[in-house]
Amino acid sequence: MIRRLPATRVIAVAAAVIVLAVAAVLLSRSREVKERPEAKSGTLDDQELSAAFSALCTSRTLVDDDLDAARDVFFTRAHATLHVMASELSNTDRPLAAELLEAKNRVEQELTGVGPQTAAEAIDRLLSISKQALISLGMNSPSCPNQAA
């Protein structure tokens, strides 16, 4: 015969379990402040990473004929994800994170007219380093559909 526990007791036990779980979490958590990109979570899924890489490919395709379009694609579809990628990478491979951020910065300068007008070359380099970064983050080796990246 199954004996039913009183509802109040069930609730009390459940509440105690939850409170203990919360307490364990809070007690075990370090006070470390995590970097917080404002509008992105600290982790990225493969789809987001692929989308950013794909946007870089598009930007590269556009850059020779339409700098404005290339800039728009870069800043709206790739830029934020590259920051989060670099942030994640900096925990495991700071030299590669540095290369990624430097290459990204170079592209920013080129696309906004600050650099020496070699945007295509800068994007090629960023594609190459992004590819290494994605592999380092556990993704399969990505490539642009119409060019060897």
């Binding site: 409170v19 958590r29 402040v33 917080r36 509008a39 709206t76 830029h79 700071r94 696309l111």
Partner: protein
Amino acid sequence: MNLHPAWSGRISAWLLLALVAVSCTSRDAAPEAQSPTPSRQELVAQVASYDLAVGKQRFMVGLLTPQQELVGGGSVSMKFVYLGTRERPQSSGPVVSEATGNFLAIPREGGSPPPLPVAGPRVVSSSEGSGVYAADATFDRAGFWGVLVEASVEERGPLPARATFEVLPEHEFPWIGEDAPRSENLTVDSTDAPKSAIDSRAQGATEVPDPELHSTTVAKSLADKRPVLLVVATPVYCVSRFCGPITDMVSELSKSYGNRANFVHIEVWRDFEKKELNRAAADWILTEKPSEPWIFLIGSDGKISARWDNVATRQEVEPALQALPAQ
């Protein structure tokens, strides 16, 4: 703006779920860095403030739809709930305070002008810019807190968002009213450091792009009784996305207000790869986890009179400069 009664009644359960969700999904993330997995009728809230402590300060939160679309424009309501301490966590609590958060539009990277203010809140495309909601919030005790945000999003109706975060007993980073560190920061005349330690953008053949921000030190400025607008940022190695635009903004402000204050940029990293901070940057941001970017306004008396963490707009900083006497 009020919470929907049905939702408001679930505050306790929500907060518990929020904390448990954080425990299940994050490795070492502080609770404020994550929002519980939202339902389809909820937004994702991400706290953008650094260094929240007991007292009054600016509180910032970014809002996204579950599809990662940015919500921007207009204003939102924020309700703050106390959730206890690490030692004595609370499963629920009453609303302690409320505030209205106004949208802070952030300049786009690459020197393009700030995005136009938008009505809203509404879903905005990334090409329209980005931003966060900011409110003056007062926290009366240290511990864990929850924020309950409600946004009346155009064409989608009222949508809630929730996040948890920690409020410290005291600020970890230099705070308003404290004596400013007399930093002997690098300048363009420094010969004992690589150029990139003066400004991370100065690499290879590239010169320091804004030498006007690297012409003097905080220590000398304060010895001369000059106010200082200081930006601590690393335009190249920034993980928050805002170092470049914010450093550019400070550079622009220096052109208009150079008669009222000295303007100084301290680059964060002497060597990013080796995780070596510049000594002057360490004066300001050496904590368990250095963060960037920061702007500090230091008065001629050597005390910090204002500070902005992570996000700062010209609309916020300029009035503080205008209040300084021309010299």
